[in-house]
């Protein structure tokens, strides 16, 4: 197995793409690999991993897109993933994509790549925008000063990418790339040399790391590195020396060690930029277009109305445009189920097996695919918002509000989308970079009342509160929102205490998004939803089918089926909430499939059509217990599709289980509270 892999690796050249967010890295990845892409997760974390292939000069090159980062510390998962990949997987070449319109900050990452001893080829990207700004960059000199190849590219127009690949191929031969050293100044260098001596005397370390890079990281006090080193023995002396060095340097130079090192790196970059960049005009022109847009979009008075308009448009686009497609998909699967059923019957298939195929499998696939239109449209919209640069402004505008609720400016969008459908909403939480913010957002998103809950509200509110139907339904939406905010604060306080969240965020210049990257982004999200969340959703649907058909011979979803038993068994739990009947319990259990199924199940159980159902319900519920039931439907366990999506997005069964468990407890508590309080004040 290992031998086979070795051969595989030998003939395949691995190129990793590294770069800042907004550097145009994804666009270059797309134009390099075209449609030959695979999207997955990095092992053990929720960071997306993208891989692709390209053939050049008769060689197959595997291209790995590393997460976009500003640095290679280990404070975020993204950075740790990128750094570990370069350190331990040792790609043949690292192509560093640099946004030349923002040269200095982009080169900060470059200095770290070089220190790590990676075999770097630089793509000086967005060179068209640079030219438009009347700025020239001397590529030959740049390349000479850094001692590595550099190519000018325009990712959006696929310019320079061929040359980039050729340079990368040539560079694969460089086994020992020239390591450019940043001079950290006499005092720091003395300490670094001493630390490096200690490192060099430890064979375990020299085998795994570039000694100078490690010395810098240790001195800098990179927590990830120090933690990573804990598994090696004999490092006490190194750590003691580090502590002494830091004390000496901070006393001597009057600044903390992190500032000292960052300062020198930027000093090196500043010197480099001075040598290679020539401006033909004053710098004031640089941001003019973006400036003008920003003056309106983040304007004190117009900012919020524009933001609300953008959000409304996105919401309408996602759900209104998606509606007819969803209708078609549902119709198609109904029709297909009917046709397949008839055909299987005529072929003499046993009824049970036939039901498995029609209700279980075809129904299951249908229940996965029905989300596709919304997901595609939402990510089409999100992709445009992100690529145009507006997403960062949206977060900028909303952060004040969201921060007081313990969240991040970017949490707003998932929560808003949650009113449409929780599945794309949970997926939209990806735009949050900080893991803690993302988890909290994912956990509270299912409390947002999605459109699938609406049929339940309409049925019950229609039956009991026909005069105040709108008000009652609105109160449920509001309840979900308020509880989401409260739970968010609670989680922040107790589950994620100590974790810091910050809002040091780039506001990238506005750019026109390309149709190609928007479509690729949309396709990636949609297809990965089908593959990852789809399997779980499908499994749950089939499982529920099995449970509602066993033991053999029982009527589908009747009280005698296993599911019926479960319903009868749990029914007493809901007694304090006012709806302790097995019918209600079974409906809730089925509601896990999809919340609107609650209505259908009640229809089946009461053996009644739409009109009859209202009458049947009016018999079994009181207005108070009906309201409690609606509260329960709103809050308890998210539907199977959301559970599948949470699993995919958190990459953890633990968090998925937690999300299901806490919503169940919360739903029950609130339902009981409503019912008991209502009785207390004489509403029951």
């Amino acid at each position: 197995m290992e031998a086979a892999q070795a051969i595989e690796n030998e003939k395949q050249i691995v190129v990793a793409l590294a770069g800042n967010p907004n550097s145009g890295k994804t666009t270059i990845f797309n134009s390099l690999t075209g449609s030959h892409q695979q999207v997955g997760n990095w092992p053990g974390v929720t960071v997306e991993k993208k891989e692709g292939q390209l053939v050049s000069e008769g060689k197959v090159i595997r291209v790995v897109d590393l997460p976009g980062t500003y640095s290679l510390g280990a404070y975020s998962e993204d950075e740790a993933v990128a750094r570990d990949y370069i350190l331990f997987e040792k790609p043949d070449v690292v192509i560093n994509i640099v946004d030349t319109t923002n040269l200095e900050r982009n080169l900060y990452l470059t200095t770290q790549l070089l220190e790590m001893g990676a075999n770097v080829v630089i793509a000086l990207n967005m060179s068209d925008e640079l030219k438009a700004k009347q700025i020239d960059i001397n590529v030959a000199k740049f390349s000479e000063l850094l001692g590595i190849p550099a190519v000018q590219t325009v990712g959006t127009r696929n310019q320079g990418t061929k040359e980039l690949v050729l340079q990368a191929l040539q560079a694969t031969g460089n086994k020992k790339p020239r390591v450019v050293q940043i001079n950290y100044g006499k005092e720091v260098e003395t300490e670094l040399a001493a630390l490096e001596q200690d490192i060099l005397s430890n064979r375990q370390l020299t085998e795994n790391f570039a000694s100078r890079w490690l010395a810098v990281k240790v001195l800098e006090g990179d927590q990830g590195i120090l933690k990573g080193l804990a598994k090696y023995s004999g490092l006490d002396r190194l750590l003691v020396r580090r502590a002494e060095a830091v004390k000496r340097l901070e006393g001597l130079l009057g600044e903390d060690i992190e500032s000292l090192i960052a300062d020198k790196r930027y000093g090196f970059i500043g010197g480099l930029a001075k040598e290679v960049v020539t401006r033909r005009q004053t710098t004031e022109e640089r941001f003019s277009m973006s400036d003008k847009i920003d003056r309106i979009v983040t304007n004190r008075y117009l900012g919020i109305p524009i933001f609300l308009l953008a959000m409304w448009t996105m919401f309408q686009f996602t759900f209104k445009v998606g509606d007819p497609f969803i209708g078609w998909i549902e119709t198609f699967f109904e029709w297909f189920g009917g046709v397949a059923g008839a055909w299987l019957e005529s072929a003499g298939m046993p009824e049970l097996l036939m039901s498995l195929i029609v209700d279980g499998i075809i129904g299951g696939v249908g229940s996965v695919l029905v989300f596709i239109p919304n997901i595609f449209l939402l990510f089409f919209a999100i992709s445009i918002l992100e690529d145009s640069g507006y997403m960062a402004r949206a977060a900028f505008i909303m952060d004040r509000l969201m921060h007081t609720l313990g969240l991040h400016g970017k949490s707003f969008i998932p929560l808003l989308i949650g009113f449409g459908c929780n599945v794309p909403a949970v997926m939209a939480s990806r735009t949050l970079e900080n893991k803690r913010d993302r988890l909290i957002t994912i956990l509270i998103t299912p409390l947002m009342s999605c459109t699938a809950r609406l049929p339940v509200y309409i049925l019950f509110a229609g039956a009991f509160f026909s005069a105040n139907q709108g008000l009652i339904i609105f109160s449920l939406y509001l309840l979900g929102l308020v509880l989401a905010i409260l739970m968010g604060m609670l989680f922040k306080r107790f589950l994620f205490k100590g974790g810091t969240s910050h809002f040091v965020m780039e506001l990238p210049p506005y750019r026109v998004p390309t149709l190609k990257s928007t479509f690729i982004h949309m396709w990636e999200k949609g297809s990965s939803f089908i593959r990852k969340a789809g399997t779980i959703i499908f499994a749950v649907v089939v499982l529920v089918w099995v449970l509602s058909n066993l033991p053999v011979g029982v009527e589908y979803a009747s009280q005698e089926s296993i599911l019926g038993w479960i319903g009868s068994f749990v029914a007493p739990i809901f007694k304090p909430a006012g709806f302790g009947t097995w019918e209600a319990a079974v409906a809730l259990v089925f509601g896990i499939l999809a919340k609107e199924v609650v209505v259908g199940t009640l229809g089946v159980i009461y053996g009644a059509g739409e009109a009859g159902l209202t009458a049947a319900i009016a018999q079994a519920w009181t207005p108070l217990s009906a309201y409690a039931f609606m509260v329960m439907t709103l809050l308890y366990i998210p539907c199977a599709a959301v559970i599948g999506t949470i699993k995919r997005e958190t990459n953890s069964w633990g968090w998925t289980g937690f999300a299901a468990a806490y919503t169940l407890v919360l739903g029950w508590l609130m339902a009981v509270l409503v019912y008991q309080f209502g009785r207390l004040v004489g509403l029951g």
């Binding site: 500003y70 640095s71 510390g73 404070y75 319109t101 923002n102 040269l103 200095e104 900050r105 900060y108 901070e250 006393g251 009057g254 600044e255 903390d256 992190e258 500032s259 960052a262 300062d263 930027y266 710098t283 640089r286 941001f287 973006s290 920003d294 983040t298 304007n299 004190r300 008075y301 900012g303 919020i304 960062a392 900028f396 505008i397 952060d399 004040r400 509000l401 921060h403 810091t500 910050h502 809002f503 040091v504 965020m505 780039e506 506001l507 990238p508 210049p509």
Partner: protein
């Protein structure tokens, strides 16, 4: 290192103003401080809360600002230094009092620690020290000296002209970064994004709800919350 906090020159001006106000009126309200320093009330509240964090003042919500023991000592010291310098300029060098007042303001932030100490010493020896307020200091020089001068890190900030926290800057104002005092991941992120000592920063705007702010640094736009901006000290240019 105990007191790892920054006392910027603007903070020193605040302390002095609070001291003067409380001696004059018996108490110092935010409004009075704002009037005295001709600074917006919002900025004053921000700095007062920084001073509160440093344990130099106490303030009940919406109540007057009071100096703590440490705050009073420091304020007295600042005022003493200021007055001694002015006296030196007027009485020893014969500088016009109005010019002396202005120069004293600048000098107390620019002149090196040693020169300033020697100057004060000189004035004390020649009996020209500023009486009254200074008396309390000369009797026990230790505590305050330590607080202000013994920390190399603080000295660097203290010496600079017109130091302010980035959060205090108005839209359109520019500054040069002196140091950043955040801790942990935020600190590193701020540095990585290019906000390192010596970098020029320009405040470009404030979000519609008043927070975060938008700055121009190294040719690109960066946004950060005011609480983060409050950890970045700049020299206004």
């Amino acid at each position: 290192m105990t007191g790892t906090f920054a006392i910027s020159s603007s903070m020193q001006d605040y302390l002095e103003a609070i001291l003067n106000l409380s001696e004059k009126d018996g108490l110092a309200r935010i409004t009075d401080i704002a009037n005295m320093l001709s600074i917006a009330k919002a900025s004053v509240s921000q700095t007062i809360s920084n001073l509160k964090d440093l344990g130099l003042v106490v303030q009940e919500r919406y109540g007057p600002v009071e100096l703590t023991c440490a705050g009073r000592e420091l304020a007295v010291k600042v005022r003493h230094r200021h007055r001694t310098l002015r006296k030196f300029l007027v009485e020893v060098l014969g500088v016009n009092p109005r010019i002396a007042e202005k120069d004293a303001c600048l000098m107390e932030h620019v002149v090196s620690q040693q020169t300033l100490e020697k100057l004060v010493e000189f004035m004390e020896i020649t009996g020209k020290t500023e009486g009254g307020a200074g008396a309390g200091i000369s009797s026990r020089p230790g505590a305050v000296e330590n607080l202000i001068w013994d920390e190399g890190r603080e000295a660097k900030v203290l010496r600079s002209v017109n130091t302010r926290a980035l959060s205090e800057l108005q839209t359109g104002e520019k500054g040069k970064v002196l140091r950043t005092t955040a801790k942990g991941p935020v600190h590193r992120r701020i540095l990585e994004m290019g906000v390192t000592p010596g970098t020029e920063i320009c405040v470009k705007g404030v979000a519609p709800l008043g927070d975060p702010i938008e700055i121009l640094v190294r040719g690109y736009r960066l946004s950060l919350r005011k609480e983060e901006a409050a950890t970045i000290f700049v020299e206004v240019v």
